[in-house]
Amino acid sequence: MEVGGLGIRRIREFNTALLGKWCWRMLVERESLWFKVLSARYGLSEGRLGAGGCHASLWWRDMEVLRREEWFQDNVQRVVGNGENTLFWSDVWVGEVSFRVRYPRLYDLPMHKEESMLGCVS
């Protein structure tokens, strides 16, 4: 990386970082109005906002790709407290992948697939 210069940022990476802020807020501001608007628009399943397909806004299509990207996924970490807001099967709360991906045959068994940690463990 160059030192000095005019302080002009690399525009692609900067844009990604700014969009990353939305991905982060999507995780932590789930009670906010904008999150509710998005979940009404794109649906919420297994704790995640829906993709929306080709009818989604351009911004949302960018977000949809971005939130799955490695640089983002690798740097967020779930810390389980009381387990109320963590989905037992779909969230990654131990190891690298969710239980749903890791144990697909076990995942087929429970009726209620969106059970929280609290419901499953206690």
Binding site: F14, V65, V80, N82
Partner: protein, 135 residues
């Protein structure tokens, strides 16, 4: 199955704490654009060095040169790129096999070893041309 049970044995919920997300790049564990930007720009450059003069090398067929140019600039329709541009949908990524040859990502931690390793197995002459071009 045993592993699954073992994992669950270690789990104890803390009633007083809520579930949290942590951003690992900041000591405050809260996302910041600065930390994300620094992380993204610190990644090694994804554009592989290619000697422009060697592109005019007459010993190498033009189609190979063109292919190499697109390869080094990461402009091939790899599955990775198609996903990023929204040509194929994330959910369909495992079903799309047309581009299986380029199924591995060019960018990021797999680097150039991934794709050139694959090419080497396919065609040694082709690989030699690519090496020549990448100098």
């Amino acid at each position: 199955m045993g592993e699954f049970i073992l994992l669950l044995h270690g789990v104890s919920l803390q009633v007083d704490n809520t579930d949290k997300w942590l951003w690992t790049l900041e000591t405050s564990h809260v996302f910041s654009v600065r930390s994300a930007y620094n992380f993204l720009t610190f990644q090694p450059s994804t554009v592989l060095p290619v000697a422009v003069s060697s592109l005019w090398n007459k010993d190498i067929p033009l189609k190979v040169v063109m292919f190499a140019w697109r390869l080094f600039r990461d402009r091939l329709p790899t599955k990775d790129n198609l996903l990023r541009r929204g040509v194929i949908h994330h959910e369909a990524r495992l079903c799309v096999t047309r581009y299986r040859f380029f199924g591995m990502p060019l960018r990021g931690k797999y680097g150039k070893r991934g794709i050139t390793g694959c090419l080497m197995a396919k065609n040694a002459q082709f690989y030699r041309w690519l090496i020549k071009l990448s100098r």
